[in-house]
Amino acid sequence: MTPLDLGALLAHPANGGIRVVVEAADAFAGVTVAAREAMLPDRGTAGLAALTEPAPTAPWQQDALVRRVRDRGFQGLALSGAEVLGPGSRRLAARLGLTVLEVDDPMALARAGWELVQGRDALTLGYVRRVAQSIEYSASHLADLLRHLSASVGHGVALVDAEGVLLEAGGHLPEAVRAAIDVGLWQDAVSVAEGAAASVRVDSPSRAGLRLAMFGAGLSPAQLSALAVAAEVAMPAVAARILIDEVADVSDAAVASGLLREFLEARDARDPDVEQRMSERGWRTGGYHLAFRIAGRRRLETLELLRFVRRGLAALPVDSQAVTSGRGVTGWLSFAEPPPAPRLDEHVASLRALHDGARRSFDVATGIGSLDSGAGGLLASIDGAVDGARIAAARAATGWFVRVDALGIEQVLLSWAGSDTFVPAAESLLAPLASQGPELLETLTAYLDHESGVSATAAALGLHRNTVAMRIARAQELLGIDLTDVDARLALHLACRALR
């Protein structure tokens, strides 16, 4: 007969609520139930005695109980009220080698002991039945399903892959246990010092290498093999749930993306239908908004990125939305009242952290819009974020992250000026100067930068002011542009910057 391990008994989900009061022996031959000590068999043969009568109150009666149970050959005693045992009685039990357990329900303990020693099929069947019971209740998503499974099986349940734990419920799967799981096997049972787990591969077409693990501390081989069967039974439900969640995600993301596009395209022309649908999705246009855009610098799985962003946003203590849009994710934080500047900076820092996190798996650039209010403000903030993301895509120095507020409008303008459409125009505009040598362009740029001050330009370039005046006059002549005309000046200044 397999000995009954104390650890396995403690790990059993229906052990009658045992707690260790005195730990001496840690394995028993079996469990014997009796009303009181006098009804126990005389030859206890190293078993665990479970008494249904509560512990006596007088200290000498407790001593006597401990002694007599041991004298009958038992190595363990479980009874309700064992916690009242005084230090003397506990010392006596320890010295005699009798493990004492407090138990709420001795009959459940007896049943658990029987399952672990003799009734392995019953143990397995019990787990399988409880898995089936949990499937009966509809789960709203994958994490919910794992919670149901964990609650009914009575052990922790986790979804793991080769890198780590993706989801877990009903406890924490120690890293050492997860690392010990052999991902190559269809079914695997591991037991290390930190705990034990039974796992089974999840057949999911969309995600490879997933495993469903049921885990706990002190699980015996019998419990592990029973749990492995339970995991096998639960696995199809988990795989189906993953698929359902993914389909739902994709369709929901597509709808949200379409709605955002309509909202952005309508601009200031308010469409009541769009507004209705937005409010149905919980997108508030009232209040203050801080938009962000996380755009892929190259092709990427936007849905994956959206999942990642949503997970990150969920951790922020603020109302937030995120929607796939083009080659990236657009989103915004909403506030009822404008947050004070330090709070706003904190939110931006959180978004920065989200961006940094995303960059570990995706090649993205992020722009943050400015804080603005109302539906129009949301539009403006999103526009800002989109511009910011465009700038950030070329800014390795800032970690591919740009906050438009901090940048200033001129930077946006400059960035736009650096675009593919403007550079050829600038080149053709300044072509007459380029043909005369680089010094004219250089001097003109410096002159415009220094507010058309000849002396300042001369000082900056280390030239005589007459030289500067002469070169400016020549450039003006070549270009045929009146530098006192504000519009012409601006265009010329931008063109100089674009070519520099």
Partner: protein, 334 residues
């Protein structure tokens, strides 16, 4: 007949302390009082030497012995009780014996001067109840109990021991928690049949023996160890359980009310009332009262033979075993 000189008082007192089984009160006060009252030696008469028809009384204090040390009784505390008893019985009691041959009450008869001291008592050890007096247990006809009511006296003439216990207890409470009690209406002949003879002789022998040297007569050493806990018992506020870590590692437990009632070793009862259970301080050799066995004290636990009178019949025994005090699971050998 033996002669008991004042120089024998300390030995006698120590013997009665041992017979106290942890109760009976400390003897110091009575030693001092007796030394003042005594005028030279006292004759101690064996029961066989005295005419069986001699009227006799038994004297003792009842209630809180602790209280007596704070409110010292007067030397002639028994005079009004004797007067009432002799008026009721119509004869002068020529002999006196102890009501409780243990603790301070072993010396109490010495305060009742001018009577013949006979070597006997009504308990043979310390016991808490008036209903445990041997004359009342055997329901000897004519025996009466007289008690101090604090300024007056009360006399109980009843064949029911429980009545005497209940009435004397309330009388003693009226008297302020402790008071003199006198048993009368019996003869020396009654003592032979229904008393415990030779208590003084036994006390003298015990008191003279060397406690530290393991040569106490009729003694059995139960163990020694350090007090690790003194626990209250949930069901009975008057019971305490003293836990000792034995020198050999065993768990010794002394179960006590006003006296030690049982000793268990590793959950097994190895001695119980009416055996006389004594705790002796290992360092000073002092015989300890129940409340003096305190945490971290190192004590030796010794059992002295029970007075044979209590073992003679099942009815007598039932009055003094732990179960008589409502304590279960303290039967020896279980």
């Amino acid at each position: 007949m033996r002669t008991l000189g004042p120089d024998r008082l300390p030995v006698l007192a120590r013997g009665f302390s041992l017979l106290g089984s942890g109760g009976g009160g400390t003897t110091t006060l009575l030693e001092i009082m007796a030394a003042r009252v005594l005028d030279g030696a006292v004759d101690l008469h064996d029961l066989d030497e005295v005419d069986p028809g001699t009227p006799c009384v038994a004297a003792g204090f009842a209630g809180s012995t602790y209280l007596l040390t704070e409110r010292v009784p007067s030397a002639d505390a028994f005079a009004p009780l004797l007067a009432a008893a002799e008026r009721w019985t119509g004869v002068r009691a020529a002999a006196v014996c102890a009501m409780e041959g243990a603790g301070l009450n072993g010396l109490t008869p010495l305060l009742v001067g001018d009577r013949m001291l006979v070597d006997a008592d009504l308990m043979g050890r310390a016991l808490p109840g008036i209903d445990q007096l041997s004359l009342l247990v055997d329901a000897v006809p004519g025996a009466i109990v007289v008690a101090d009511t604090g300024g007056g006296v009360m006399l109980v003439d009843s064949s029911r021991a429980g009545d005497a216990e209940s009435l004397v207890r309330s009388s003693v409470i009226r008297a302020g928690g402790a008071g003199a009690v006198l048993v009368a209406g019996f003869t020396v002949g009654d003592l032979r049949a229904h008393g415990i003879p030779g208590t003084y002789t036994r006390a003298l022998a015990l008191g003279a023996a060397d406690i530290g040297g393991d040569d106490l007569p009729e003694a059995r050493v139960l163990g020694s160890g350090r007090v690790s806990a003194v626990d209250a018992v949930p069901d009975d506020a008057f019971v305490r359980s003293v836990e000792l870590v034995g020198d050999d590692g065993a768990l010794l437990r002394l179960v006590a009310r006003s006296e030690f009632l049982a000793v268990t070793r590793d959950g097994e009862t190895i001695a119980a009332s009416p055996e006389i259970l004594v705790a002796i301080d290992s360092v000073s050799g002092e015989v300890l009262q129940v409340d003096a066995v305190t945490l971290a004290r190192h004590v030796r636990v010794v059992a002295l033979d029970a007075p044979p009178w209590w073992l003679a019949s099942a009815e007598r025994l039932a009055r003094v075993i732990p179960a008589a005090y409502g304590l279960r699971g303290l039967e020896v050998g279980r």
